[in-house]
C-alpha cells in the first residue's frame, strides 16, 4: 500500500505535466494554423467536433484528463492513504483532493473570467510540488534505516 501511495503520488505529478504539455500543444497548434494556414477560429469552429489543426486533441485531452482521470486518481490516492501507514499521508492526500477540486473550478471559471487562468497555472504547480515532494521524501525515508518504513 505504501508503494501504491507513492506510485499514485508520482502519477498525479506526471498528470500535471501531461496537462501542461497538452494545453500548450493545443494552443501552439491553433496559433500555427491561424498564422501559417490562414485558419479562422470562431465559436462555431470551436464547438465543432473536429476542428482540423495539429494539437486540437490537446484541448480534449486536457478536459478529459482534468475533469475525469485526475479526480479519480486523487480519490484513489485518498483511499490508499487510509491503508498506507504513511505519516501524514491522509492529510496530504486530503490537501491534494482540495487542490484538485479548486483546480477544476478555476479551469472552468476561467472560461468566464480569463485572468483566473493564471491562478489555475499557479495551482497546477502547487499540486505538482506537493505530489512530487511527498513521493520523493518517502523515497528518502525508505533509504533511512531509522525511518518509519521498517516493519
Amino acid at each position: 500500500m505504501r508503494t501504491a501511495f507513492r506510485v499514485l503520488m508520482y502519477l498525479l505529478a506526471a498528470e500535471v505535466l501531461v496537462q501542461g504539455m497538452a494545453i500548450a500543444y493545443a494552443l501552439a497548434g491553433m496559433g500555427h494554423w491561424v498564422d501559417q494556414d490562414g485558419g479562422v477560429v470562431d465559436k462555431a469552429l470551436f464547438d465543432s467536433d473536429n476542428p482540423d489543426f495539429p494539437g486540437v486533441g490537446g484541448f480534449m485531452a486536457h478536459g478529459m484528463n482534468g475533469t475525469m482521470i485526475i479526480p479519480i486518481l486523487v480519490l484513489l490516492l485518498l483511499i490508499v492513504s487510509f491503508f498506507a501507514k504513511v505519516p501524514g499521508g491522509t492529510k496530504t492526500a486530503g490537501i491534494l483532493v482540495g487542490l484538485v477540486v479548486l483546480q477544476v473550478f478555476l479551469g472552468i471559471f476561467a472560461h468566464e473570467v480569463p485572468y483566473v487562468i493564471m491562478l489555475h497555472v499557479l495551482n497546477a504547480f502547487a499540486i505538482f510540488s506537493v505530489a512530487a515532494l511527498t513521493a520523493h521524501r518517502m523515497g528518502g525515508a525508505d533509504r533511512d534505516p531509522g525511518g518509519v518504513a521498517t516493519v
Partner: protein
C-alpha cells in the same frame, strides 16, 4: 494486534465514507437499456393544475398527432440517406452522411399553406436515421425525434413525414438519431417556406453554414462562393442558417443591412444597421436584407458577395441587441396571463451521467436523467425563465413551439416581438420567454450544441393526457441525442 485491527477498521470505514456516496450516485445515473422519456426525472407543473399523466393506456398517443391524413400533398419528395465518402461542392473529400448523394441535402421549398410530404429512405446509415424539421412547429408525430416521436429508420426501411407549411420563413432539417454525430457529419439540409405572394423585387439567397471535419463551408462549399449576379439597387434577402454547434457571426461590409427575420419569424419594422454584428445562435437562422452591391460576411465561413461586392471589413465589435431591435407589435397571447411558470436553470457539477464520472450539465440542480419534465395542458400560456450559470453558453432549442423573449437579466424587451426556437443563453445571464401551449405532444427542450445534449442537457415538455408508445433504446436502438 488490536491496534492493527482497529486501524484497519478505521481505514475501511473511511473508504466506505468516500466510496459509498459515489457508488450510490453512479448507480442512480445508469439507465435501463430501454426506457420512456416520460419515466425520466420528476414532473414540474409550473404552479398549474397537477393533472394525471396517464401512462400508455389512456389519452391520445404521440403517434396519432399527425397532419390531416386525407389531404393530398402539394410538395412531395423522397430523401435517401447514405453513409459514404463524398466530395464537398468545393472538391474536398469528407467521410460522413449524405441526403440524395450530397451534403447539405436538397433544399426543400414550399409555399405557405402547402402540405409537404417527404418520404425518407435509409439506404445505408447503420445507426438509423430520422428527420427533424428544425423550427417548424409540426404535429408531434412528424417531429422526427427517435425514441420520442418515432422509431429510428433502420437501413432498408422508409418513413413518410407530412406537415402543412404554415409558417413562412427559413428553417432546416436534420437527423435526430445520434444527432451529435449525424448532424455534424452532414445529415441535414435547408427548408424554406415562402409567402403566397412574395415581393417580386427581392432576390432570395440561402447561406447554410456547416463545418465538415474542421472545414467551414457555406452551402457545402469551402472558400469563395460565386458572386450573386444582380444589378445594382436590387434588394437581396440572405437566409443564413447555422447548422453548427456554436454561434456564428453575420454582418455586412461596407453597406447597411437589416435583420428582417429571426428563426423564421419576420421582425417588425427592422431598421438599417451599420457597424454591428448579429450573433447567430447554433441551430438558429437570421434573414438579412442588403441592397446590391454588397457583401454579407459570415465570420470564419466566408462571405456572400452581391453584385460588384465590397471589400471585407473586420467583424464589428458591437452586437445587434435583438431585445430592442425593431418596433413592438401585438402578441397573439397575453404573457401577463400565464398559467404556468417554469425554471430551466443550467449549471455544471461533478457527478455521473450514463455511469460515467465527470463534470456534467445540470438542470435545476439535477443531472440527467433526473431532470424536470415540464407538464402543460393545451391552451396554457407558459412563461419560462432560462438561467445559465454553467460557465459556457447554451443555444437552447424548444421543439414544436416558438417562444417570444420577454426579458433578459430583468430588462424588458422593447423592440419587435423576438420569436425564437433557438436562443443563445450565455453564462451569467437569464432570459424570460413565453409561449402558447398549442401543439400537444411530447417535445424535447434541449441544448443545440449537440454534444452538450448527449452529455445530458435535455429536458422535455409534455402535454397532459398524451401517451408515449416509443422508447429510447429498444429494438430500433433509438438514441435521439
Amino acid at each position: 494486534m488490536i491496534r492493527e485491527r482497529r486501524r484497519l477498521l478505521l481505514a475501511l470505514t473511511a473508504t466506505a465514507v468516500v466510496v459509498a456516496p459515489l457508488a450510490w450516485t453512479w448507480n442512480g445515473s445508469r439507465l435501463p437499456s430501454t426506457y420512456s422519456v416520460m419515466d425520466m426525472g420528476y414532473a414540474d407543473y409550473g404552479g398549474g393544475p397537477e393533472s394525471m399523466t396517464q401512462h400508455d393506456t389512456m389519452g391520445r398517443s404521440v403517434a396519432d398527432l399527425t397532419a390531416d391524413p386525407s389531404r393530398k400533398a402539394d410538395v412531395s419528395l423522397t430523401l435517401t440517406t447514405r453513409k459514404e465518402r463524398f466530395r464537398l461542392a468545393s472538391g474536398e473529400g469528407v467521410d460522413g452522411y449524405t441526403v440524395n448523394g450530397s451534403s447539405p441535402g436538397p433544399t426543400i421549398r414550399a409555399v405557405e399553406g402547402q402540405l409537404v410530404e417527404v418520404r425518407l429512405v435509409n439506404e445505408s446509415v447503420p445507426d438509423g436515421v430520422t428527420l427533424h424539421w428544425h423550427g417548424v412547429d409540426v404535429p408531434n408525430a412528424e417531429d422526427g425525434v427517435a425514441g420520442v416521436t418515432q422509431d429510428a429508420i433502420r437501413v432498408g426501411e422508409s418513413h413518410t413525414y407530412r406537415f402543412v407549411a404554415e409558417q413562412v420563413g427559413t428553417y432546416w432539417y436534420h437527423s435526430h438519431q445520434v444527432s451529435h454525430r449525424q448532424v455534424q457529419r452532414g445529415l441535414l439540409g435547408a427548408l424554406v417556406i415562402t409567402p403566397k405572394h412574395p415581393d417580386p423585387m427581392v432576390r432570395d439567397e440561402i447561406a447554410l453554414l456547416h463545418i465538415y471535419n474542421g472545414r467551414q463551408t457555406v452551402n457545402g462549399r469551402q472558400g469563395a462562393l460565386a458572386p450573386v449576379d444582380v444589378p445594382a439597387g436590387t434588394r437581396v434577402r440572405v437566409r443564413v442558417i447555422n447548422t453548427d454547434n456554436g454561434a456564428a457571426s453575420v454582418w455586412s461590409s461596407g453597406s447597411p443591412y437589416k435583420v428582417v427575420a429571426i428563426d423564421g419569424y419576420d421582425v417588425n419594422a427592422p431598421t438599417p444597421l451599420t457597424d454591428r454584428v448579429v450573433r447567430l445562435t447554433a441551430g438558429g437562422r437570421v434573414d438579412v436584407e442588403v441592397v446590391a452591391p454588397a457583401r454579407v460576411d459570415l465570420g470564419g465561413s466566408g462571405a456572400i458577395v452581391i453584385g460588384a461586392g465590397a471589400p471585407g471589413t473586420r467583424q464589428p465589435r458591437q452586437q445587434v441587441d435583438l431585445l430592442s431591435y425593431g418596433s413592438p407589435a401585438a402578441l397573439p397571447f397575453d404573457p401577463a396571463k400565464a398559467t404556468r411558470r417554469f425554471d430551466y436553470s443550467i449549471g455544471r457539477r461533478p457527478g455521473f451521467v450514463h455511469g460515467r464520472p465527470g463534470l456534467w450539465w445540470s438542470i435545476n440542480g439535477h443531472l440527467f436523467p433526473d431532470v424536470p419534465m415540464y407538464v402543460v395542458e393545451e391552451g396554457d400560456v407558459v412563461r419560462m425563465t432560462i438561467e445559465n450559470h454553467s460557465r459556457d453558453v447554451h443555444p437552447m432549442h424548444l421543439h414544436g413551439h416558438h417562444a417570444v423573449v420577454l426579458s433578459r437579466d430583468g430588462v424588458k424587451a422593447t423592440g419587435s416581438p423576438w420569436w425564437v426556437d433557438s436562443l443563445d443563453v450565455a453564462s451569467g445571464h437569464e432570459y424570460e420567454i413565453a409561449f402558447l401551449a398549442d401543439n400537444p405532444g411530447v417535445w424535447m427542450d434541449h441544448c443545440h450544441n449537440l454534444p452538450h445534449a448527449s452529455q445530458g442537457l435535455v429536458a422535455h415538455l409534455m402535454y397532459a393526457g398524451i401517451t408515449e408508445p416509443f422508447r429510447v433504446g429498444g429494438q430500433a436502438d433509438n438514441a435521439p441525442e
